[in-house]
Structure formats: structure tokens, C-alpha cells
Amino acid sequence: MSAQSPANAVGQGVPRLEVREKVFGQAQYVDDMVRPRMLHGAVLGSPIPHGRIKSFDKSRALALPGVKAVIVGPELPAHHLGAFIKDETALAREKVRYIGDPVAAVAAVDLATARKALGLIDIEYEELPAVFDVDEAQKPGAPLLHENYEKYVKVYPAEFSGRNVLTISTVSEGNVDQAWAQCDVIVEGVYESPAQAHAYLETNGALAEFDAAGKVTVWSCTQSIFKMQAAISEALGLPMAKIRAIATRVGGGFGGKSEPGTQIIAVMLAQATGRPVKVILSRDEDFTMMRVRHPAKVRVKTGAKKDGTLVAREFDAVYDAGAYADESPGVVGFGVLMARGPYRVPHVKSVGRGVYTNKLRTGAFRGFGNPQTAFASEANLDDLAAKLGMDPLDLRLKNAMRPGDTWVGGQKVEACGLVECLEKLRKQSDWDKRRNSPAPAKPGKKRGIGVACLSHISGVLATSAIVRLLEDGSFSLNTGAVDIGQGSDTTLAQICAGSLRVPLERVNLVNPDTDASPYNWGTGASRVTYTVGRAVASASDSVAEQIKQRASIIFECAPADLELREGGMVGVKGVPGKVLPYGAVAGFSHFVVGGPIIGTTALMFDGPGFDPKRALLRGVPFSNLGAYVFGAQAVEIEIDEVTGKVEVIEAWSAHDVGKAINPQSVEGQIQGGVVQGIGYALTESVEWDGGRVVNPTFMDYKIPGALDVPYAIHPIIVEHPEASGPFGAKGVGEPGLIGVGPAIRNAIAHAVGVRLSVMPFSAERVWTAMRGAA
């Protein structure tokens, strides 16, 4: 990589590559697609939370004119799928486990007919006792959701108990039990966080079409075309070579489109009818059939010396996994790995359990278990600061990780800008003044400011990139990574353009397609800029070397005597006139010597792993995660003294991103994350009554609108280059959300002196707590 990049490539907030199609209304999302003879599919969800399928009769549905196929779960072969534990089938086969559990599907000439036919499918159930609460579910005699749990295939060394506990993760370092004696102050609390819905504006959908050779093409909104290809293969027993997955534009994902939505059902219906079938979920179907963030109940205990030096942290969490494992083992494992937070704490013990209940499955959602962990840990830390009589920002600063410190398990962290994040946050928010002598609140309101730190990862798993020099000196960049709206296409193209010193317009980004793209595990874990970016930079560097090698034949010199020059030229060092445009080198390569210039890189995240001599790690699906990222967030709030309503009036969010490849996109990720965090903290909670989701609409499930959040959300970008990252960059996709909940909670404590332990902080909850404190 060259140190100097073209002005419009790395480090510039250039507009998105695809932005014109989006503002012109031309972007194609899956529901915008139409294929000749296309049918419309619809999905029937279980009407009961737990039951055995006794019999079914689809004759009435099939008799409806326009209906072309009806598939009911028991008709399917027993192919199991699941990211970590193979506990699901494409449709429920023997049992249904939550209200909304897909049990049958219909294809018809139009959507209205398909939906009407759903009501004509007769399924007889033997209803079983259901369990909705994680504590109840673990008791002896509680209804078991998965009687054959032990026989399921698991892709990691799972630890579990027989009572609906599907995964137990343990991480420990030092000796917590002995450490309490060294502490002057100990604070313990239990903190509960809600089920948050992804609420992407575009619901899940897919379109599947078979060709005459039996190969199916599946267009969908997904975070990973490769996971979809594998999941369809696993669920239906089709060879992967017969499955082509393509990403359309994606209307937001946030983790909710990491695992299958309606792709498998669309393929089944297309197979049954021999026609293309599109299956788009309605808003309430998406709310009741798909997945949400894990509700969690976390007990945290932290001990410190009188001067605020942290000594020990104990963390014990129970996560509601819902009816199927989905990504729960990963979420639980990651949640406990984040329990120490970005602080120097020598003694840590952290345990998490994921528990089946008869509710919607819970899965990946921006933060992946970390928002629950951060809420509990950062609220607990604030309570500790209060008990110590210390400023909460000072307490964090005192214990913050510094470069060269280790993560739990011994991984050395060289790039860590947490102290700078905290210092900039203090300065830009005018923390000391707002904390100690705040400006008066509006009449009838109380004002407060709170802080929280966060750490996260950026990385994980396998990825690859292909960069090819075209005859005219431009490049095609192909990674298979799906841009779900966060802007990764542009960022990756900037990395390629920056590495090869060409203007951004000279890079063509290939749309993700399993028939054409190299492997990419997926868009998630804040990994695309960092992990895919590494592959792009490396493949680009390989292309640069090949360009020099070919040019050296033309110039009759050594490749080491050549350099890339701005604008896409290769020239002899020190001789300004001796220069060739890339196009000339490409022509020479394509038609004279050497063949086309193609750079490829395939990599698996290879950073340091967990040291088993130093710490204990059990039942965690991964021990080698990625580059660690750090941040600090502050919010100022006002509380209405009469209603208890909390309003965030200003927010600051400082993040060490290594290097902002596209600062405008980085700011967008931070501001969007903060607002999703405000929703999580104040209004968002999926609620159940007897196993039924009672708020499956935007009318009843409140995501923030423009008036519910401040305009003044200040992103603060800190750049401590990560040596392994492209141009020093690491990820920022998830962090913006993580510390917002606890920062608001801590601001409420500052404003009115109540220390809340249950999110969201609804007006009712705050008002009740204020009354109790008065």
C-alpha cells in the first residue's frame, strides 16, 4: 500500500457508489423484481406456542382457484439446519414451538390468493404445555422444547443442561473468589434488557427460480449469499452446485438477515411449482416469524480498591433464546467474552446461559450480545463510582485499557485509543461543567449527563477478494460481501482505488453472486471494512506487483526500479518521463506476455487466540475473534417530572476506528447506531402475552422518529491505526449502539438519583422509580 492515496480515495467522504439509483428510485430490492410466470408465496405460522402436529389436510387450500402448491411441514424430509446447533427444519415437521413458527407455505397466482389459501390449510395439533420465562424453563418438570436436543449436530464444543439450556459459556481469568477480600468496595446488581426488533424498513423476502437443468437462482435481501447457499443446501438436500444466491439491494439488516429469512421457503415452492416464486413477508409476519435481540437478565458484581482501581468482576447472564438456537451460542459466548469490558481487571469470572422458551427465536442483532453485557456492566460501574464518590468518567479513565494491555485470555491489544476517546469525549461534551454545574433544565424537567465505555471486535472468519486489471486500465473488484446499506461497497472500492492509486471511478464493484464471487462469510461482526478490506488491500497489492513485473519487461529494468504513480500509471523511479498507463500494461499482458493480471487473496482471521494456560474458556464457539475496537459515549437527557418521559437532548460518541476510510460513512454508522441505541433504551421492547407478540406493527412497536432523537449527535472519530487493518482501519458498524443504553441509564441517575435496572426506561418505569425514591 502506498502511503499517499489519491485525493478521492482513502480518507475521503465520497458519496456512495450506488447513491444515484437510490435517490432516483431505481435501486432494485427483492420485492421490486418480477420474473415471467412468477407466483407469489405466503407462509403460515403456528397459531399455538407449543404443540405436536397430529394431522393435516390441504385439500381445501388446493381447491382454491389460483393456488399452485401447498406444502406442509410433515411432508418434508428430516433435514436439519442451524448456524451452531442443527435444531430447525425448513418448516415445522413434528412440533411447532412458537406462535408464528412457519408450518406451511402456499404458492399462488397472486398474493391475495396465497394469503387466502393459508386460512384453508387444516392442521390438527395436540397442544402441549408451553414455557415463556427463562427461569421457569430451567425448572425440573418444565416443558421441554427439544426432546432430542442431545442428538442434534453442534458445530462447536457445546456445553448444556437437560432443562432447555442449549448453551453454557464460561470465561474466567485470575481468581475471583479470593479477590473479593482485596476489595474495599463491592457493588452488585441485576440488570434486565428487552427483546429489541431489528425493524429494518424492508421486510425479509426472496425470489427463487429453477432453470431446466435443475439449478435454482435465489435473489434475496441477505447479509450473506454464501450462508444462504449453504443453508438452502442443508435444509433441502440440494447440492450447493445447484444453488446460485444473489444479493439484491438490502433495505437494512442489523443482524436480522444473517440467517435465512424466506429463501428456503421460496426455493421449496419454486421446486414444487416449476415456476418462479417470490415470498415477501408482511410487517407483522416479519415481527412474529423471524428473530429479535435476546432479552437478558444479568447479575454483575464488581469490586475495587478505595482509589478506584478495579480488582474483580463476576458476571452471570441468562439469555432468552426463544424456540430455536439460531445464533444464540455465538451471542451468549460473545456476551460473556465482553463481560470485563475495556478495563484492566485482573480477576474475572463470566458465565452465560442460553435458554429455550416458546417464543420467537432470538439471534444476531447489532452488538451480538454486547449491548446486554454493556448495559449491565456499565450501569454497575456507575453504581460503583457513586459508592466510591468518584466521577464516573474518571473511574473509567483510571481503569481503561492502554496499548499493549491484554484482553481476557491473554490476547495483546496493541492499537487501543480508549483513553483518547474518553479525553475527547470529556472535552467535546464539556463533561465537567455539565456533570458538576449543569445548565438549568426547561421548566418541569430535570437534567443529567451520563457516560459509558464500550469495546467490541471487528473481524472473524473467512473472506476473499479478486482484483482484476481490465484492458482500459480500470479494475473489477469482487468480494461477495453484501452492502446492507452501511456503505461497504464504497469503502472496499476506496481501499482498492487507494492501493492502486487510481480515481474511485476506475473501480467496478461486482455485485455479490455465488456463481461469480469468491467466498465471504458475511456482513456482520463489524468485519467488512477490516476483514474484507484486508483481502482487498492484499489482492490489490498483488496486482500492483504484477503490473510492475510486466512493466519491467517493457522498460527492460528490474521491477524494484518501478513505482505506481497517481492516476493509474507505472513509471521508473526518479525518471518522470518513463511512464506507462495501466491500460498499456494491461494490453501487453492480455495480448503479448503473461496473461491477464489478477490478484486474489483468501484469508481466515489469524490474530492471536485465547491462551488456555492463562484462562479458562468453555462452551464458547470462538476463541479468536478479530481486532478489538473501543469507544466512549455520553448523553445528556431531560426528564419530565410529571410524566417521567426521558428525552435525549444531545449525544457524543467517540470511536477508535483505526482509520476512517470514508469518514462520512463512519459518521453515518455512529449516528445510526446511537439512534438505534436510544430506541433500545427508551421505547423498544417486543412484548408477549401467552406466547403471542402483542406489538408486531410500527404502530405498537415504537422505533425513534426524527423528533424522538436529538439532531445534535456528535460523532468523534479517533484514529489509532490497527497494524493488521487496511490503511490501519477497523470496524465501526456495531459500536455506536452498544454504550447508549447504559449512558442514558447513568444520565437518569445523575438527573433524578434513581438507578434503574430494567430497560427500556419508559416514562412509566422512570416515573414509578422517581415516586419510589421520593
Binding site: P15, V23, G25, H198, G485, Q664, G672, V675, A706
Partner: protein
């Protein structure tokens, strides 16, 4: 029933079901898929179009009732390949992420700026508050509307 619709300045004669929404007629019959279905309940604003210059939720409007009214969708905002001031501002400020709310946001902003030349920040927030966005956090969308308003000749 047969209904004459005027969409983006063009007349179209459509055979409609009485229960059909304007959103459905635009997307399915006219192929104008830039208008999005988000909630089908009039809450999210992704389906916003202009009817006689005013923003409306096309998922709540019956198409059959739109005869004789002027409908503008996202496809009718630009002057050929030349983006409108609002579109251009959305491009420059980074107001677009996944893009699903964008058409509705742009139409709401167009309606605001046709009514008010120089709206203040709070006026913009108020006007945009009926359109939900899950990606951006709104700040850059508000910046875009503000920038567009500053470029509209007074």
C-alpha cells in the same frame, strides 16, 4: 373499474380493483417500484408520494379515488438525468444508507420546500418526523434538507 391516473405528468388508464391501494397500482401495474412498502399501515412513510403537491401515504389511499389528481412519485422528481436540489443534497450529505426510506424522505422534503423556502432546523425535523429511517439517525437527512433549502432560489 377503469380509472384515469395522472402519474408524473403522464396519463395512464388502469383497470383497478376497488380495494386496490395507490401503492399497489403504482408498483404492480405501472412498474414504478421506487415507492416502497414498509408497514402497510401508514406509519413508516416509505410509500410517500405527492398527490396534488401534498405528501400522502400511498398504502392508505385507494387508487380508484385518484382519478383526476396529479400524482408524483420518486421517478418523477428529477429532470431527466439531472437530480433535483433535494436529490443532489441527499447524495452529497451522506443521507442515504440502505435507501429504502429514501424515496419517501425525498418526496416529503420536496413537499416541504415547495411550501417553505427556508425552513428552520426544527421545522425540518417536524416535517420529516413522519418518515422512519432505521439506518441514519436522521442527522444527515436533516442536513440534506437544509442544504437543499439553501440552494433553492429565494
Amino acid at each position: 373499474m377503469q380509472v384515469e391516473l395522472n402519474v408524473n405528468g403522464e396519463q395512464a388508464s388502469l383497470m383497478l380493483d376497488a380495494r386496490q391501494t395507490l401503492l399497489d397500482a403504482l408498483r404492480v401495474q405501472l412498474g414504478l417500484t421506487g415507492t416502497k412498502l414498509g408497514c402497510n399501515q401508514g406509519v413508516c412513510g416509505a410509500c410517500t408520494v405527492l398527490i396534488d403537491g401534498k405528501p400522502a401515504r400511498s398504502c392508505l389511499v385507494l387508487a380508484a379515488g385518484c382519478g383526476g389528481r396529479k400524482i408524483v412519485t420518486i421517478e418523477g422528481i428529477a429532470d431527466g438525468a439531472k437530480s433535483s436540489a433535494v436529490q443532489q443534497a441527499f447524495i452529497e450529505t451522506g443521507a442515504v444508507q440502505c435507501g429504502y426510506c429514501t424515496p419517501g424522505m425525498i418526496l416529503t422534503a420536496e413537499a416541504l420546500l415547495r411550501k417553505r423556502k427556508r425552513p428552520g432546523l426544527d421545522e425540518i425535523r417536524e416535517a420529516m418526523s413522519g418518515n422512519l429511517c432505521r439506518c441514519s439517525g436522521y442527522a444527515k437527512i436533516i442536513d440534506a434538507v437544509k442544504l437543499a433549502s439553501e440552494r433553492v432560489p429565494a
